[in-house]
């Protein structure tokens, strides 16, 4: 039994699984049921001036007939309940569950007094921390809140600073992924004093169009507006942004990873890439609070199996494995290897390579069967065939022994000026607009340089 207790910037919880600020954390009675089901923490549905919602609000895309809602889009705003009610229930909930993490998500107008006021009121509830919602990408952003703050580093820094002036609790800043680079707003929040970062909030999206009515999803009396996208489909985007911040030397604060986590495996990936804990929304909206049981069980079995005594021991273990493209070994070479005993002759690898890669898996008659056979001299080791093969472990990528000594693009180009990484801080408030800022080491010239 591994130790699953987790601590994010001084906020402890019995396990690293928190509910993200969203419908599953709408009110006290829901969060109490979630804690009973095993969730370690919950970020209350964002509190602010009560709003009016529209109907309808959600739309989704499916993976397959049996895998519905792999991506979810919403145009819901922040809590539509009176702030006093939310705060009263928060105080009750915290009293009842002292060991669980209870965080207030906040969003008010861009006004120092308004932020001071709400922060003070939250402190009175006994909540463990606050999360600043700089991420909501629809509706609230049109009123200068939510992602409108997260997209402008100066704002993010300024408002975080206001909150820190008044707040004795740990302050988490929740970032929007709707930026060119996550580094700039991340650094800005840290400069403003953020104790932790959480990401990602939802991604601008339209999930589809009704082909009969020609109205995009989701229909609000004949019209639709872009919403925020989440669910399993967004996990890769979230993982990348988490790892970018984990690698950045100017944002060395703990990270709460969010975005598309559906089971313990996803959670472990976030932890390995630098998250201290994780938050979940869509999967709970799909299947209910009960999913946390397998998250805890699976994580625990994984840690036991791998010999880790504590969940904290795996945080960030894969971060050093993420690097810039130009630091990868150009001489590393793998080729596909097909196990013909397992092959069921579906020929998916053949057609994928033929039309989508490098035409190096011809079909060859062996006995009375036609097998795909890899032409190793042509194979570039791209992985595609192994990704499409439906039989587990049938196609493996084996690394070739007789290859050159490791050599990176930097070494190959002999330190060409174009590919020198800049260490200059692009996320600074001076040139802070997200469009112009890029993460360290990946200025746009590098991309051009490598592609030519």
């Amino acid at each position: 039994m591994a130790d699953l207790t987790s601590n994010l910037a001084g906020i402890s919880s019995p396990n690293p699984f928190w509910l993200a600020s969203a419908p599953p954390t709408n009110m006290g009675s829901m969060i109490e049921r979630a804690f009973d089901a095993g969730w370690g923490g919950a970020v209350w549905k964002t509190i602010g001036e009560p709003i009016r919602n529209v109907c309808s609000r959600l739309s989704s895309i499916d993976g397959s007939s049996t895998q519905r809602m792999i991506g979810l889009n919403n145009i819901e705003l922040i809590s539509d309940r009176p702030t006093e009610v939310n705060l009263r229930e928060m105080a009750q909930c915290k009293r009842k569950y002292p060991k669980h993490a209870l965080i207030a998500s906040l969003m008010v107008e861009s006004n120092r007094e308004a932020w001071h006021d709400i922060v003070k009121r939250v402190e009175d509830t006994g909540a463990d921390g606050v999360e600043l919602n700089f991420g909501c990408p629809h509706g609230m952003s049109e009123r200068g809140m939510g992602s409108a703050m997260g997209q402008v580093p100066e704002y993010a820094e300024m408002v975080t600073g206001w909150v820190k002036e008044a707040c004795s609790l740990p302050v988490i800043v929740k970032l929007t992924p709707n930026v060119t680079s996550i580094i700039a707003p991340g650094r800005a929040a840290v400069r403003g004093g953020a104790d932790a970062l959480s990401l990602i909030n939802t991604i601008n999206s339209i999930t589809g169009v009704d082909l009969d009515t020609l109205i995009p999803n989701s229909n609000v009396n004949g019209k639709a507006a872009h919403g925020g996208y989440c669910g399993p489909a967004v996990k890769p985007i979230a993982l990348n942004m988490v790892s970018e911040l984990a690698r950045d030397e100017f944002t060395q604060v703990p990270i709460s990873g969010i975005g598309g986590i559906k089971d313990w495996r996803d959670a472990v990936e976030f932890l390995l890439l630098g998250s201290t804990n994780v938050q979940v929304c869509t999967q709970v909206m799909h299947y209910g609070y009960r999913i946390v049981e397998d998250m805890i069980d699976g994580l625990n079995n994984y840690l036991d199996e791998k010999g880790f005594a504590s969940v904290n021991d795996i945080v960030g273990l894969s971060v050093p494995r993420v690097t810039n493209w130009s630091d990868l070994d150009l001489n590393y070479h793998t080729v596909a290897s097909i196990n013909h005993d397992k092959c069921i002759q579906c020929n998916l690898c053949h057609i994928a390579c033929e039309d989508g890669a490098h035409q190096c898996i011809p079909l060859v008659q062996i006995g009375d069967k036609r097998f795909p056979v890899v032409d190793e001299t042509e194979c570039v080791g791209c992985n595609l065939c192994s990704l499409v093969c439906p039989v587990p472990d049938c196609i493996t990528m084996v690394s070739l022994e007789d290859r050159g000594a490791p050599m990176t693009w930097h070494e190959f180009t002999n330190g060409d000026a174009l590919v020198q990484a800049t260490t200059e801080d692009h996320g600074g408030i001076s040139n802070g607009h997200a469009i112009t800022s890029a993460p360290v080491g990946t200025p746009s010239e590098v991309v051009h340089g490598s592609a030519s």
């Binding site: 049996t66 009515t213 020609l214 004949g222 209910g288 699976g298 079995n301």
Partner: protein, 494 residues
């Protein structure tokens, strides 16, 4: 009787391979992904031990197979056996919503087998024994009821010893299941899980009245899981001829897999049409009998075997003589069976409870030529043994009377479960009674109430939190248009 062996051992071996072969990992995953992960799942409701079926399937999906097996064993200590021998089409799979959606239920039995086999093969601990509490319980009978009770009691910290007169643990799971459904190895390895947590087995030990007195003195409670006794007598001439067999004893011989030593006739008459009768008939066929005829006193519609068992018998080309009652076994000068003498029967007018008796039709005798007869008539009760226990009450059919919640008998120290209580049902029913018995025994000894997984239906009938039910509005006139009803049509707004 001289064995008639028309088949090569290799062929017999092939005939006895698994009727429902194991899933590969790829198959298990695809099948698991089909599961809708229902809430308050009908499959879980239908399972007598209320295994949380969608939870264990979901864990196969997420590659948490050990966790999956634990969910199963937590609610049913004979999960690996049940995965093979449960009448799933009448239980979980019969209830699966995919029956309606795709006309193909999730193959729950085989998924369960996948998870439990994985756990057993990889030697993962499935149970953990509790802190020793200084109390001890003796369990009589190592079948599913006794075994299940032992596991749960050990989990609570009791010293548990199981007594069984046979050499192997598992009871009918080990000695009575059709060999093409399950081999002895499965049941024996499964019972080893309990050995792993310190349950003691005294096998090859007949519990005599003297030993019982001793057990009463040495233990805080006794759980009776003695099952049933001998097959009931037919009471006709020729019944003791060497070619006449008791179905359960004969199946026990099949389970040795020593194919050349198993007696089988060229033409076999099986008396009875229950599940054991089908097991005997199909196995006789698989051993090489040319003709197998099942003889049943009532009609086809009243056949007690499950539908899928009947289908299996038909696909093995077993023949049926409905409405026929055996009245004698004809033997030749050497005592060898020559034929089964029967009379035709006719249903009587139903009594007030709707039950129909079958009367013999005079002068309708006929003979079924055969050289072997297998009797599958149901088993008698262990009345002699049971009536020796003070305070124990038996019902009119010789079944031990118990409190349904706690399995307590008329004697406060004795609890009971399994076939000796329900008269002979599925292994899974016995496993559930073992679980309830363990809870009852614990309550009796410690006064504490524990609740094991699946002891009751996991979901309460009432809503989880208070909601106000909408006041029903009168139904609008069907001719009223959507517009009149105030319903906006988005499609019309183009």
């Amino acid at each position: 009787m001289k064995s008639f062996i028309p088949l090569e051992a290799v062929q017999i071996e092939r005939n006895f391979c698994d009727v429902a072969p194991a899933f590969s990992r790829a198959q298990a995953k695809v099948e698991a992904d089909r599961c809708l992960y229902c809430y308050d799942a009908p499959c879980t409701r239908a399972c007598p031990t209320h295994i949380d079926v969608p939870a264990f399937i979901k864990k196969i999906s997420s590659d948490n197979v050990v966790g999956s097996a634990r969910v199963i064993f937590d609610a049913n200590p004979i999960g690996a056996t049940c995965a093979r021998v449960c009448p799933t089409s009448a239980l979980c799979e019969g209830a699966c919503v995919e029956n309606t959606l795709l006309h193909k239920p999730i193959d729950i039995g085989r998924l369960q087998r996948f998870a439990t086999d994985y756990a057993i093969d990889s030697r993962r601990p499935m149970f953990f024994s509790g802190e020793p509490n200084g109390k001890s319980v003796a369990i009589i009978g190592a079948g599913p009821a006794g075994y299940s009770c032992a596991v749960y009691l050990k989990r609570l910290g009791y010293a548990v010893t199981i007594y069984d007169r046979r050499e192997l643990a598992g009871g009918l799971d080990t000695y009575g299941m059709a060999e093409y459904k399950m081999t002895q190895k499965v049941s024996v390895e499964e019972t080893n899980l309990a050995r792993g947590i310190g349950v003691e087995f005294r096998l090859g030990t007949e519990v005599t009245p003297e030993l019982l007195v001793q057990l009463e003195l040495d233990n805080d409670a006794i759980f009776l899981a003695v099952g049933l006794g001998q097959t009931t007598k037919l009471g006709v001439e020729g019944e003791n001829a060497p070619g006449v067999f008791d179905a359960l004893q004969w199946i026990e011989q099949v389970k040795t897999r020593e194919w050349t030593g198993i007696p089988v006739g060229r033409t076999v008459a099986v008396i009875g049409a229950g599940n054991t009768a089908v097991d005997a008939a199909t196995q006789a066929k698989r051993l090489g009998a040319e003709r197998v005829v099942m003889v049943y006193r009532r009609g086809e519609a009243e056949m007690p075997a499950y539908d899928y068992e009947y289908e299996l018998a038909k696909s093995d080309a077993v023949e049926f003589r409905w409405k026929s009652a055996p009245v004698g076994i004809v033997t030749d000068a050497n005592g060898a069976v020559r034929s089964l003498k029967c009379v035709e029967t006719l249903p009587t007018v139903p009594d007030e409870k709707g039950r129909v008796a079958y009367g013999m039709v005079e002068g309708s005798e006929f003979e079924i030529p055969c050289d072997m007869v297998i009797k599958a008539l149901g088993q008698s009760k262990m009345t002699a043994f049971l009536s020796g226990i003070a305070g124990l009450q038996l019902d009119g059919s010789g079944r031990v009377k118990v409190d349904e919640g706690t399995m307590a008998t008329g004697n406060p120290k004795y609890f009971a479960g399994g076939d000796c209580v329900n008269g002979g049902r599925e292994a899974v029913d016995a496993a559930q009674m073992g679980k309830l018995g363990a809870m009852g025994i614990h309550q009796f000894i410690s006064g504490e109430i524990v609740e094991f997984a699946g002891a009751r239906l996991p979901f309460v009938e009432k809503l989880p939190h208070e909601i106000e039910l909408p006041v029903p509005t009168p139904i609008a006139h069907p001719e009223a248009s959507a517009a009149e009803l105030g319903v906006k049509s988005y499609a019309a707004q183009g």
